[in-house]
């Protein structure tokens, strides 16, 4: 007889899993699918509450799962993203067949991410990883259009290949250390550093980098974000991408602390290439969702600076503080980017809705955004805010994230990286401004439309969030700092 109260901190996961099952089951009889939406909405809201109030600092299931500020931070982010997606999809998957599967998969994916974010054992981590991946593979193909399927296919092949790589890396790690507990790996790995360790490290990084979409492991991302249903793209860009970071933070920082120099170098290279390439390629795109895809590649590059900072911090006198600010910056940017990208993709969904109603094809082409400020003012304004936020214009979430992150880079003496980063954010301005130009400075190509309520609600909420973090960053920074502290050796 297990004492349920002991598992209180994990109620959120439990709730969502149960809900997913329930929805699938109910889906068999109930015709009204929108019901499911509201149910999962409530469920997510509830679990968000649970996550935020959960008592941190306890470990479960033969110490494979830990509930600590870091995990809660990520969980909160994931749930918020899913919440927004659900709200948006209330207008999208109202009566369409299989709406129930959509919500169920969404919830399962969320659970997978949550598990990853709090797992301190490679096994649970891998399982969570796969749970999230598998559900998102299915989601990517959800509308079964040609583009969906191509996107899903690429995502699937690429994803499973990389998770295989990751698994291989894990196996090597296990071979070298004889354990799958992250903390134990950390202690053992310091002992014997073989040449295999580097291979293992790179394989693991490759596995995570696929989710984080760091160049050159990003190539699935543009195609998938462009091809998949907008809302799923939102989930991928904002949610599962961050799961990669959640996993990488624990494994890299804690388990592989002995290989600090190696991963310092690796991420220095990756970050630099990623942000640069993401931005300069984005300049060329005319498909807005593809622009967002590349922009989120670039953003991943920024976030990856956190790894470099932590790596560089090792030798500094005040290494703890530097590393902490670095990770905190990364976390803040993760949170901010999650919101901004969710919003951005939801906005594209609105535009798609608008364009497809007119029977036109290719809804994501930038020309469809001409005069959006007149056709769909609310969407346009929210997208405007997201664009500026992504570009790092204050006072927005994007700015705060970059502020702390680049600051920590300077603090760690990584001037070259910081300079590269700001040059990149200047370049990125070009394509963000280009979208704004189309929305605000081009004549409208069609009549004003009524923006679907679900979308509007999601957009407005997101905008408020983005601005709120920008104007009142204090609590978020504190939260991020606590979360960051978890990863530092005590």
């Amino acid at each position: 007889m297990v004492d349920l109260a002991h598992y209180a901190p994990l109620y959120a996961e439990g709730l969502l899993t149960a809900l997913a099952m329930l929805i699938l089951f109910a889906g068999l009889f109930m015709k009204s699918k929108s019901m499911m939406g509201y149910v999962s909405l409530v469920g997510l809201a509830l679990s968000l509450f649970l996550v935020l109030t959960a008592k941190t600092g306890s470990i479960f299931f033969f110490d494979t799962v830990s509930v600590d500020p870091l995990s809660q931070f990520f969980k909160a982010t994931f749930i918020v993203v899913s919440l927004l997606v659900v709200i948006a999809s209330l207008s999208r998957y109202k009566e369409s067949a299989g709406g129930d599967e959509f919500y169920a998969l969404l919830l399962l994916a969320t659970v997978g991410m949550m598990v990853v974010s709090s797992s301190i054992d490679l096994i649970t981590l891998f399982v969570g990883f796969e749970l999230a991946s598998l559900s998102t593979y299915a989601l990517a193909a959800f509308d079964k259009s040609r583009r969906n399927l191509e996107a899903a296919m690429k995502y699937f092949i690429f994803g499973s290949a990389s998770s295989a790589l990751m698994l291989f890396g894990f196996s090597l790690l296990y071979g070298m250390t004889g354990t799958t507990r992250i903390s134990e790996i950390a202690t053992t790995l310091t002992a014997n550093l073989g040449p295999a360790s580097l291979i293992a490290l790179i394989f693991v990084i490759a596995g995570f980098a696929f989710k984080m979409a760091l160049v050159p492991f990003h190539m699935w991302a543009p195609d998938t974000y462009e091809g998949a249903p907008s809302l799923v793209s939102a989930l991928l860009a904002a949610g599962s991408k961050k799961m990669g970071f959640a996993a990488a933070f624990r494994v890299i920082f804690v388990a592989m602390v002995a290989l600090r120099v190696e991963w310092y170098l690796a991420f220095a290279i990756l970050a630099a290439i990623t942000m640069t390439l993401g931005n300069i390629v984005a300049i060329w795109q005319n498909n807005v969702r593809r622009i967002f895809a590349y922009s989120s590649v670039a953003q991943a590059g920024y976030i990856a600076i956190a790894f470099v900072v932590v790596g560089a911090a090792g030798t500094l006198p005040n290494s703890a503080y530097v590393a902490q600010t670095g990770i905190a910056g990364g976390l803040l940017l993760i949170l901010g980017h999650a919101l901004m990208k969710t919003g951005a993709f939801i906005a594209t969904a609105v535009v798609a809705y608008m364009v497809l109603r007119e029977g036109k094809t290719d809804p994501d082409d930038i020309s469809s955004y001409a005069g959006l400020s007149k056709r769909a003012p609310i969407t346009a304004f929210c997208l405007l805010i997201f664009m500026f936020a992504l570009a790092g214009i204050p006072p927005t979430a994007g700015y705060i994230g970059k502020f702390v992150l680049f600051g920590s880079a300077i603090n760690a003496g990584l001037v070259w990286l910081a300079v590269l980063a700001i040059i990149n954010s200047a370049i990125s301005l070009y394509y963000y401004l280009r979208i704004i130009m189309y929305m605000y400075l081009r004549p409208a190509t069609g009549p004003k439309i009524v923006e679907p309520k679900g979308y509007v609600a999601a957009l407005v909420l997101t905008t408020i969030g983005v601005i709120w973090i920008g104007v009142n960053p204090q609590p978020f920074i504190d939260y991020a700092m606590q979360a960051a502290a978890v990863l530092l050796p005590h």
């Binding site: 580097l198 790179i202 394989f203």
Partner: protein, 678 residues
């Protein structure tokens, strides 16, 4: 009592300016009477101050108040200033009166009188400023007004161009003036003086007081820079080009600019800063040479032009040259030269105003400036003719006229200067004097005698115009005899009120060596500085004593000779100009072309050199400074265009990329570790 209203001398014209500008349109004759009134009241106040001055502390009126930073605004009326004030207010009043008739019916009359009032105000302000900065400010305002007035008929392209030319040319001089002020200021600062409250670095009394402490080389620089300003304003060579063109404005404007106000500013500046010039080695020499050369140079040009106003314009330039030279030769007679020069300035203002107004009235009647189309005007315009004759005589230096005394004085002093240093100025001045006589009477004979060469409506001008003419004629004739001696003392001793020690300054300036007697004179004169009758006179008489009789009477001969020549050519027609010169004569061409100034100044310097540089800069800016940016951005974009091709859309290639990525990472890191990069 009058002293307390000194500020009104400037204040009233400014008021008139505002009133005319805003309400003149509704008043008869553009509200010209307000301008006249304002200036006239100024005359009265000035006269009152003149009467009160002896009673004031050390004989000068000085009011001052802080302005900003460490600069002040203030009023300083000393003999030099009051002389100018009286002259200006007097002459300008007459000119304005005349203008009331002259501008009658012109749609822009109100604008004219507004600008004229401002012009007067600035000139008066310039004269009694108590510090160099304030002087410069009014100096520039004078420039502005001349710009506005010369361009008064702005619809005429030539007028607009002339206005611009005047402003720009004087501006070039002003650059030097400004520099001079900056230099002087910084020199004064570097003296670390402990100034009494109410004293400011750029105040004239303060400058006079601490002059001697400034290193001589610096003094020379400052002096030359200030001279540059003067050269620009007073149309001395090489910045005289704007003056003849300034004829584009209404004749009354020319009268103001040439006689009373603008051009005299330069001379006044040098006079005002005379102690500084005196203390600065070689500065005065330059002044003398520039002045003398200009006098001759302009006179030659005056010989050839047929535009009645241009002739007068050149004569102005030439006469200003005389004044400058008069100051320049001061290195031998000291402060007395200020008296001499200013005397000529004032005399000149009378007869030059007279001449211009006459010319104006002729033009008014004939309707053209070209004297070849006039002729015999005298028959129909008696008053104009005779007043003009008086003016001409005075200008030519006909014995016992005002011009005679003043010019004679300068020439004689130049002779002394010759004895002491060099005869060049003397030579130039004498030649210039002859030419002056010739072209003046050439003008008069051609225009007023002989037969009409075109049909113009032959009538005399209204009395409102003739009145001023007569008054001016009286002064042009009589002022010399009456004022002469007293005036020299009065203005010549101007600097004694500040206790300027010319002996000491002379030593700094290095005049001691050249002219012991001069310095001796200065010495005792400095001692007797507080005395009521200034020693400058002594200095001068001491100079006079040494001169042979033929030098004394030379000017008379010159004047009469010149007139005679002119008569032979243009009245009695004994000779014909063609007998001396032919169309192909290079010298004649040179003179007609005005020494190719237009070609050199405008076409070559302004349009080629300056504008060319600008074009080059523009090229650089577009091609290089901005071009670099565009180039960078293009490179970035092009690079992106290349890279995106990697994204082939075939999933297997993606996997390949992953493999490559892994391998590259491993290799690079391994190498880095081996090399010991970290």
């Amino acid at each position: 009592m009058f002293s307390d209203f000194a500020y009104l001398i400037v204040g009233l014209p400014v008021l008139a300016f505002v009133l005319c500008l805003f309400f003149g349109w509704h008043l008869p004759r553009g509200g010209g009477f307000m301008t006249v009134l304002a200036t006239f009241v100024g005359l009265i106040i000035s006269w009152g101050i003149y009467k009160e001055m002896p009673a004031l502390p050390n004989g000068i009126l000085h009011q001052s108040m802080p302005w900003f930073a460490n600069f002040n605004v203030g009023i300083l009326v000393d003999p030099l200033a009051i002389a100018m004030l009286l002259m200006i207010t007097f002459v300008v009043t007459l000119i304005h009166t005349y203008a009331n008739a002259y501008m009658d019916g012109d749609p822009g009359a109100a604008r004219y009188f507004a600008e004229a009032a401002l012009f007067t105000a600035s000139m008066l302000g310039l004269v009694y400023s108590d510090n160099l900065l304030q002087l410069f400010i009014f100096w520039e305002l004078v420039g502005l007004c001349s710009y506005l007035l010369i361009g008064f008929w702005y619809r005429k392209p030539s007028a607009a161009a002339a206005a611009k030319k005047a402003f720009l040319t004087t501006r070039v001089g002003d650059v030097l003036f400004l520099l001079g002020i900056v230099l002087l200021y910084n020199n004064m600062v570097s003296l670390n003086l402990h100034l009494a409250p109410g004293e400011y670095l750029l105040q004239f009394p303060v400058i006079y007081k601490y002059l001697a402490l400034i290193p001589p080389t610096q003094l020379t620089f400052v002096a030359l820079c200030l001279l540059g300003g003067a050269v620009g304003k007073s149309g001395q060579f090489p910045l005289h080009v704007w003056l003849p063109d300034a004829m584009e404005g209404p004749t009354t404007v020319s009268a103001m600019i040439h006689a009373a106000t603008m051009v005299t500013a330069g001379v006044y500046l040098v006079a005002r800063m005379f102690p500084l010039f005196y203390a600065a080695p070689n500065a005065l020499t330059v002044v003398a040479l520039v002045g003398a050369f200009t006098a001759l140079f302009a006179a030659t040009m005056g010989l050839t032009t047929f535009d009645i106003k241009r002739v007068l314009a050149f004569s102005t330039v030439s006469q200003l040259g005389f004044m400058m030279a008069g100051l320049g030769v001061g290195s031998v007679v000291g402060a007395a030269s200020v008296g001499i020069s200013i005397f000529h300035l004032i005399g000149h203002s009378f007869f030059k105003a007279l001449l211009f107004l006459c010319a104006g009235s002729v033009i008014h009647a004939v309707g053209t400036n070209d004297m070849r189309e006039m002729g015999g005007v005298g028959k129909y315009m008696k008053w104009t003719a005779y007043t003009m004759l008086i003016g001409g005589a005075s200008l030519a230096g006909f014995p016992l006229t005002t011009g005679f005394f003043s010019k004679d004085e300068i020439i004689v002093t130049a002779y002394e200067y010759g004895l002491a240093q060099s005869f060049i100025p003397y030579l130039f001045l004498v030649l210039a004097a002859i030419l002056t006589a010739i072209y003046t009477f050439r003008l008069w004979f051609v225009a007023f005698t002989g037969e009409p060469r075109s049909d113009y409506h032959k009538h005399e001008s209204p009395w409102l115009m003739l009145g001023p003419l007569c008054i001016l004629a009286v002064f042009a004739l009589g002022f010399g005899i009456v004022a002469q001696g007293g005036f020299y003392d009065y203005v010549g001793t101007n600097f004694d009120h500040y206790g300027v020690n010319f002996a000491e300054l002379g030593v700094i300036g290095g005049h001691a060596i050249e002219d012991a007697e001069g310095v001796a004179a200065e010495g005792e004169h400095a001692v007797a500085a507080e005395g009521e009758h200034g020693a400058a006179a002594e200095g001068k008489e001491g100079g006079d004593a040494g001169e042979p009789w033929y030098i004394q009477i030379l000017p008379i001969i010159i004047a009469l000779g010149g007139i005679l020549v002119a008569a032979l050519f243009y009245y009695l027609h004994k000779f014909d100009p063609s007998m001396i010169t032919s169309e192909r004569d290079p010298i004649r061409k040179l003179l007609l072309k005005g020494y190719y100034q237009h070609e050199i100044y405008t076409q070559w310097f302004a349009e080629k050199v300056i504008y060319g540089t600008a074009i080059v800069c523009n090229m650089i800016d577009i091609k290089i400074v901005d071009g670099a940016l565009n180039w960078i951005s293009e490179v970035i974009v092009a690079f992106g265009g290349g890279v995106r091709r990697v994204q082939t859309g075939v999933v297997q290639n993606y996997i390949t990329a992953v493999m490559l990525g892994v391998v590259v990472l491993v290799v690079v890191i391994e190498i880095a570790l081996q090399v010991g990069f970290v």
